[in-house]
Symmetry: C2
Subunit: 361 residues, 2 copies
């Protein structure tokens, strides 16, 4: 077996080795039942147990209040872009969006199919290198909700604190859920694709306040109505069993690490190592404004695109994988979610210093 | 490790042991890359290779013509119930449905949200114990398409031959895809959730004729438009990577078995063993009319519900698992998809004879 490489991929992203090894056993023979996890009826008591434990761990780790439902849905965060306005808006209804990157932009496009969308802030003209502070936008009094993306995977920005509003607050937390302590009770809906901070691709977690389940317009397809899944414990139809199992295993691992507060401290430590390296030289330039920096995705540039190509290739050659930036902004990006080990960040920082010394030109 | 049990579950369903063992290796370290399959970027050359090979094997095994797209979608077959009419109908448009079980009934309910639905045949009053022959229904001249479910998992019925029509023919083949040779060119859309005959839960395969991609009404959400996924090779957003991989491994296994024709012969042989047992006594009664019998799901009853409970429990005790019928009709059901071994059917038949002898009353 080849040594494990450090995988800086933005998602699907590196998972804890313990989780991979447990999955390796369970897919073939789950808990000595003689049936593999991936061929087991979703209505078996074993799989119902997996789903229940996964939900219960998420509730515990995020301290989710009882008046919220936790749903395991398919179609990725991209399906929430239309499901949210489809369930909460309708002719004549309004919502406010903060446009801070590719994913909010896509969400705005879909929302416009279902209502009157007010984009109260956009950093698009600054290549999305920042998120707004509270005084940089106003929420229309007629809005049903305020929507924002807490962490922008591509541009490496993150809301350091959340918008304060008396409106229903909705957040796409795909790339920073469980990475820092939050107060769920401030939100109407939190959703996140699992494949960055929570598990394998194939499931999207939706945490929704119960009163929002009754707002869906008539004639919405059954599968697209939140209440369908809330009423059936996400088993209205066959759920993505393996992905739900994978999330459960990641949550068990996270609990062993000390939970969200402990991982948050480690995330700050890991990101600081990288930002200190970037700030210590003019050779590397961070994409995000300092006040908007993400602890999860660190997007940066070298002096020239040619040096970036060389940097990415030489890094890969020593087991630092997936450092290429997103095609929409180029450059480099290090995604260092919860499960990314500190040793990998240290190795990257050492390599960055060495590369700079060797390629000053 | 406990011996493997015979798993008669209707889905998620038994998978080939070779597939489970390969998955067990690949989740931890895919092809010696030092990265596990379930933590690997969907845009990595390795995963792009997995997806391309899966599609290519499906095209080869089903002999799919070049003017059809193969899509890997999420949301299960249940999401196709609304996506099909959402993409192909609209105000004033009509479609014809054959109602032969729970899944067609659910599809009809969703279709009614998008057009004028003509139910040309229904066996609901006979507890869905049969499918119609060609002369038992007519398709309205104004219909955009004719929709049917080729195999009814719950009731154990199956269309022995397919409807002939000059309309676009659409079939839900969730529980018998790849179990028998079919002529794809007769169909407009074939779709199937993977978790019965093709792999783990979490992906739905849609095979769609290209001319149908241009019929979607304006203002359909991006993720719900077939063309979105067709244009992006099912990578518009993060796909359900593990489930696609699992389908690919099952297809490799199927090819090694000799392909669809070889597996069809074996499916006929397996089902005959069970039906011969049922027909050789009055103790067991098959639910389906003989001419409508399914080769995949065999639903049957014993003289009393009490005996059925005893039968299911005693079977489970000797490693014959998952024989309980669906809650909507009760009784017993043996699901014997492609990957279910003949030895398991032989063991069930032996047990059925023994149980009858011991419980004649």
């Amino acid at each position: 077996m080849v040594d494990r490489v450090y995988n800086f991929s933005p998602g699907p992203a590196t998972l804890p080795v313990d989780v991979l090894q447990q999955a390796s056993k369970d897919v073939v023979n789950f808990k000595e039942t003689g049936i593999g996890l991936i061929e087991m009826s979703h209505r078996s008591k074993e799989f119902m147990g997996v789903a229940a434990e996964t939900e219960s761990l998420l509730r515990e780790l995020m301290d989710i209040p009882d008046n919220y439902k936790v749903l395991f849905l398919q179609g990725g965060a991209s399906s929430q872009f239309f499901m949210i306005p489809m369930n909460l808006l309708g002719s004549g209804k309004k919502a406010t969006y903060l446009n801070t990157g590719t994913w909010s932009k896509k969400a705005i496009k879909e929302a416009k199919l279902f209502g009157d969308i007010d984009v109260a802030y956009s950093s698009e003209e600054q290549t999305f290198n920042r998120v707004p502070s509270q005084d940089e936008y106003t929420v229309d009094a007629a809005s049903e909700y305020l929507y924002f993306v807490s962490n922008n995977t591509i541009y490496g920005t993150q809301f350091p604190t959340f918008p304060e509003t008396n409106k229903v607050l909705i957040s796409d937390m795909s790339s920073d859920i469980l990475s820092r302590k939050i107060d769920v009770s401030k939100f109407g809906i939190i959703f996140a694709g699992a494949q960055k901070n929570m598990g394998p691709a194939g499931v999207c977690i939706v945490i929704i306040r119960e009163d929002l389940l009754d707002k869906t317009p008539e004639n919405t397809p059954t599968m697209l109505t939140y209440k369908t899944h809330a009423d059936k414990g996400s088993m209205f139809n066959t759920p993505p069993c393996f992905a739900i199992y994978g999330v459960g295993e990641v949550l068990k691992w996270l609990k062993k690490q000390g939970g969200v507060e402990a991982i948050e401290a480690r995330n700050i430590e890991k990101a600081s190592l990288l930002y200190d390296c970037i700030d210590g030289t003019d050779y590397y330039r961070g994409h995000a404004e300092k006040a908007s920096r993400s602890l999860m995705n660190i997007s940066f540039n070298l002096p020239t695109p040619e040096l970036e190509v060389k940097f990415i290739a030489e890094a890969a050659a020593i087991g630092l994988n997936g450092l290429k930036g997103h095609r929409s902004i180029g450059g480099c990006r290090a995604s260092i979610y919860n499960a990314f080990p500190k040793e990998g960040v240290e190795k990257l920082v050492a390599f960055m210093k060495e590369f700079e010394a060797n390629n000053k030109g």
